[in-house]
Structures are given as structure tokens and as C-alpha cells.
């Protein structure tokens, strides 16, 4: 009998590997293989036409003295630091408003999500037109409502990143949907118990809503940061990194090095630095999460 069970599980195991084989093959060809190759290229001089030439740490040395590398890092961090937290706060506020037992919930949710449906190049073109300093709707509204002369937005070194941050808020629909579902999942008994104890709305928000939502906030924070470090389409279509490198996003700089200057080695070194930054940020967030993320299962222990 025992041999029979192990025979079944052997068979089951074979089938398991058979079923997941597409992923294993894909993992080897499209993830692990390329990661190793990319590490190798990052130590080489490689222009695609001639074979790679080993140059040791030269790419990495060049990188640290390359003002555009630092510029790209600065631009991307600036964007990330503002767009991600502000986007999370905005989505959370809207999700809380939507969770107030209101009528027309489905309609509002649809409206907030619509911008996320149109994405990529079409959105970039639309916002180029909105930000048009002379004929765009934004500066018109700023003048009409507040008597403010709007800046040149995408054509201004100072305003191009704020403009792209504003544009990023247009796509927060996905986070709103996630937060709303999270809020709906918080047991009402928790709030009722707090009310009996005389807690006001603010106390309930700080002591119930935020802790209960913290795992979801953690997830969206990590995904948001990873996403913000990978901004490309907006930068390529709307500004090409300009004016005067003021919107030279990191991935745009990788793209230019790889596919416009054909410095594959240098571009690989750049992408390794990006990888390490994302890895460190993710680790930092996860390591700090026990301080602020609340998991129900740890309480029960």
C-alpha cells in the first residue's frame, strides 16, 4: 500500500513539473539567462555589431562620473518620492469617501477607473495637449478659476516633473478599487466596539482603518515604487527627456544608451544599478514593515 502511494505521488510530481514546464523554460530563457548575460555585458564594451570586449569595472567607474546618470537618478527619485505617496493618499481618501454607504457607488468607481483604461501613448498625447501652455485646458482653467498664469509645464525645466506627477494622479483608479475592496472587508464590529468605547471618527481612522489597511498599503507602496522607477512612455513621447535633461527618467536613459547609442555594456551596467536600487528599496520597505504593518495572524499568536 505504501509503495502504491509513493508511486502515485511520483507520478503526481512528474505531472507537476510537466504542467509548470512552460514557466521553467521561460524562466531560464527570459529571466535567469538574460540576468546572467546582462551582468556579463555590464563588464564589457559591447556595440552589438562586434563581439563584447571585457573591460572590467570600467562601465561602473564611468557611471559614477557621468552627470547624466546622476541627473536620471535625481529626476526619477524626485518623481517617485512625490507621485507614489501622494497618489496613495489621494486614492485612500477617495476610497474612504466611496465607502460611506453612498448611492451610485458603481458609477463613481467606473469614472475613477476610466483613465486607467486608456493608457500609454494615447494618454501621453492627451496630456501634452492639456499641458499646452497657450491653448491647453489646464492653464485656461487656472486663469479662469484662480487668475493664475500657469507655467510652461512640459517646456519648463522646473515644471516638467510636477506636470508628470499631476498626470500620474489621473491613473490612480486601480488603487482606489483595491482600497475600496479592502475597506469593505474591515469587519463593522470593530467600528461598533470602538463607538461604544467613545472613539470619534479620527480615532477610528487611526486605530482601525489604517492598521487594517496597512498590508494593502504596503503592497501598493512597493508596486508603486517599482512602477515609478520604470517610467518610460510618458518621458519618451512627451518630452524625450527634455527640456535640458529635466525629465531624463532612468529607463529613458537606459533606452537611449542601448538602442540609440548602442552602448549595450554601459546600458547593462545602468540597468544593474536600477535593479539594485529597486531591490534595496523593496527590502527596506519589507524590513521596516513590522513597525507599521499590522497582520491579524501575528496578533493571535
Amino acid at each position: 500500500m505504501r509503495t502504491n502511494i509513493s508511486a502515485i505521488s511520483k507520478k503526481e510530481e512528474r505531472y507537476f513539473y510537466l504542467f509548470i514546464s512552460p514557466w521553467i523554460i521561460g524562466f531560464l530563457i527570459f529571466i535567469i539567462g538574460p540576468i546572467i548575460a546582462s551582468l556579463y555585458f555590464s563588464f564589457c564594451n559591447y556595440d552589438v555589431v562586434t563581439p563584447p570586449v571585457w573591460t572590467g569595472l570600467q562601465n561602473y567607474k564611468k557611471l559614477f562620473s557621468d552627470p547624466l546618470f546622476w541627473r536620471a537618478l535625481k529626476v526619477t527619485s524626485y518623481y517617485s518620492l512625490l507621485s507614489v505617496p501622494l497618489g496613495i493618499i489621494l486614492s485612500l481618501i477617495i476610497a474612504i469617501l466611496l465607502n460611506q454607504k453612498i448611492r451610485g457607488l458603481v458609477w463613481f468607481r467606473t469614472i475613477y477607473y476610466v483613465p486607467s483604461v486608456i493608457s500609454g501613448v494615447a494618454v501621453s498625447l492627451l496630456w501634452m495637449w492639456i499641458f499646452n501652455p497657450e491653448f491647453g485646458i489646464l492653464n485656461f482653467l487656472l486663469w479662469k478659476l484662480f487668475r493664475i498664469h500657469g507655467p510652461a509645464w512640459l517646456m519648463s525645466e522646473e515644471w516638467v516633473i510636477p506636470a508628470l506627477i499631476i498626470m500620474s494622479f489621473w491613473g490612480i483608479g486601480g488603487d482606489i478599487v483595491i482600497y475600496l475592496a479592502g475597506l469593505q472587508g474591515i469587519p463593522t464590529e470593530l467600528y461598533e466596539a470602538a463607538e461604544i468605547d467613545g472613539a470619534n471618527s479620527w480615532k477610528k481612522f487611526i486605530n482601525i482603518t489604517i492598521p487594517m489597511m496597512s498590508p494593502i498599503l504596503l503592497f501598493t507602496l512597493v508596486m508603486g515604487i517599482i512602477g515609478s522607477f520604470q517610467v518610460f512612455t510618458q518621458a519618451y513621447v512627451m518630452t524625450r527627456g527634455g527640456p535640458h535633461y529635466a525629465s531624463l527618467f532612468y529607463v529613458l536613459y537606459i533606452y537611449q544608451n542601448a538602442f540609440q547609442f548602442f552602448n549595450m555594456g554601459y546600458a547593462s551596467a545602468l540597468s544593474w544599478i536600477l535593479f539594485i536600487i529597486i531591490l534595496l528599496l523593496t527590502l527596506l520597505i519589507f524590513k521596516s514593515s513590522p513597525l507599521w504593518v499590522y497582520y491579524e495572524s501575528t496578533r493571535e499568536r
Binding site: 507537476f16 523554460i25 477607473y113 501613448v121 488603487d175 533606452y255 536600477l274 531591490l279
Partner: protein, 281 residues
């Protein structure tokens, strides 16, 4: 006493509705502005103050925008790439997810952790070697680099489908096994039919991502007749010298339309997909 509490409640509700309505209007203004620009006459585009509703509707802008470039060709290209990518993701991700959700094997948990961790890897790190690989295969300037990787499963979809598959009672598998059903039979006869909504979610997200993808086509496609809609749209700006905003907006609307239509007919699956990945991740 009761009266004042009731009054306070009404006041709060009013504020909530007002904030929701104002933010909805802010969200919708760009969409409205896009539509309004698309149907304006050339000179009306540059009026200041702008007209919210054009005096006369120029639907001909759409045909002008679409005939300027071979949009029909690009529509077919994009549809072909998208359709095959969806098929690839549906087959591969569901097979892999079935393995992870229904079959027992040593090293399974470790492998699943590996699947999840690949979601954190930025695609830029693999972009250059994959490009060189496809170049060696002579696949550059074909649709293959954009389609083929979809046949090896996506971590995100494997995770999403696995979550769904785990909710189906394992007793169904056991009963089928007693009836002599193979593992592949359980996959096609039990799991797939019961998880159609999850497969719809995978199809929809793959559709959206492939349809709107920009960097992939930008890297791999060069020939004028092989462009995708996104890529063609980005070149449109240069060609018209950034002036014809009405035509640009008309073209953008046409490109975004399939995603819009899909969203309105399949909203449920969108919401479901977002919620599941967001809450259980």
C-alpha cells in the same frame, strides 16, 4: 438631540457627495477635452478662450486622421499581436497555475516563491540580452519577440489563476481520478470550465497590456508597414509637426476605443482582477 445628530449626518453626506462629484469632474475633464478637441475644426483648436463644445462637429477629422497613416494595417498588426499574446497567456499561465494549485511535489513552495519574486524584477535588466537573443534568431522587425514570450506564462497571471484554482474543492479532483480521469483531464474538464471568470480576467489584462505596449514595439519593430497603433501614434506627432491636435486626439480616441469597449462590457472582470491581486498579494 436626535434632530441635531440627523442634521450632522446629512451635512457629512452632503460633503462626501460634493467631494466625490468634484473629483469625478476633475477626472472627466481630460476625457471631455479629448472628445471635444477631436471634433473641432482646424482653426477652432487654437481659439482662446477654448470652446468646450465646438460650434460645428467635424466627424471628418476621424477619417482624415485615419487615412493619413495606414491605420488599417496597424490595426491588423496590433490585433494580431494582441490576439496571439492573449492565447499564449491563457494556455501557459493556466497550465502552470494548475500545477501549483492542484499537484503535490517536492520543491513546489520554493518554486512558487521564485515565481512571485520574478514580479519584482524590473524588465529593463533582461531587456538587452533578450533583444540580442531575438537579434541572433533574426526575429527583429517581426512580431515574434512581442508574441512568443507570452507562451511561457506570466508570474502575475500564474499567481492570480492559482488563487482561483485553490478555491475549488480538491474532492472534485479526487472524484474525477476515481473515475479514471487523468491530470490533464482534470485540468480541461473540471478546472478550466469552473474558472472562466478568472480566465476572462487574464485575457482582458493581457489584451490591455499588449494593446497599449509601447516599449516592446519601439525596440523590435522598424518597418513602416509593421508598426503597431501605439508606435504609429507616437510617430504621428512628428509628422504633423505637433500642430493638428484635433487629428491627434481623433487618432488617440480610435486607438483607445477597443480598450474602452472592453472595459464597459467586462467591468466585473477588471475589478475582480485588480482586487484579487491587490488584496492577496
Amino acid at each position: 438631540m436626535l434632530g441635531s445628530k440627523k442634521k450632522e449626518e446629512i451635512l457629512i453626506k452632503t460633503i462626501v457627495y460634493m467631494l466625490l462629484i468634484i473629483s469625478s469632474i476633475i477626472i472627466l475633464i481630460p476625457v471631455f477635452w479629448m472628445l471635444s478637441t477631436a471634433i473641432k475644426e482646424d482653426s477652432e483648436v487654437y481659439l482662446f478662450p477654448p470652446e468646450w463644445i465646438p460650434k460645428k462637429i467635424y466627424l471628418s477629422n476621424f477619417s482624415r486622421a485615419l487615412t493619413f497613416l495606414p491605420f488599417g494595417r496597424y490595426f491588423i498588426n496590433t490585433s494580431l499581436i494582441t490576439f496571439l499574446s492573449v492565447i499564449g497567456q491563457l494556455i501557459s499561465s493556466s497550465l502552470v497555475a494548475f500545477g501549483f494549485a492542484r499537484l503535490r511535489a517536492r520543491g513546489k513552495d520554493l518554486l512558487f516563491m521564485l515565481v512571485l519574486s520574478t514580479m519584482m524584477i524590473p524588465s529593463q535588466i533582461t531587456m538587452i540580452p533578450i533583444f540580442i537573443l531575438f537579434k541572433l534568431l533574426n526575429w527583429v522587425d517581426t512580431f515574434k519577440p512581442l508574441i512568443v514570450p507570452n507562451f511561457f506564462g506570466g508570474a502575475f497571471f500564474i499567481f492570480l489563476l492559482r488563487q482561483f484554482y485553490m478555491t475549488i474543492p480538491i474532492e472534485l479532483d479526487d472524484a474525477a481520478k476515481i473515475d479514471g480521469c487523468s491530470y490533464f483531464g482534470i485540468y480541461t474538464k473540471i478546472i478550466l470550465p469552473l474558472t472562466k471568470p478568472a480566465l476572462a480576467t487574464v485575457a482582458i489584462f493581457t489584451f490591455m497590456w499588449t494593446w497599449n505596449d509601447f516599449m516592446g514595439p519601439l525596440i523590435y519593430l522598424n518597418s513602416r508597414e509593421k508598426l503597431t497603433l501605439s508606435l504609429a501614434l507616437s510617430r504621428f506627432t512628428g509628422m504633423y509637426g505637433m500642430t493638428a491636435w484635433n487629428l491627434l486626439m481623433a487618432a488617440s480616441i480610435v486607438v483607445a476605443l477597443p480598450c474602452f469597449v472592453l472595459f464597459f462590457f467586462a467591468q466585473k472582470y477588471f475589478i475582480q482582477g485588480i482586487v484579487i491581486t491587490g488584496l492577496k498579494g
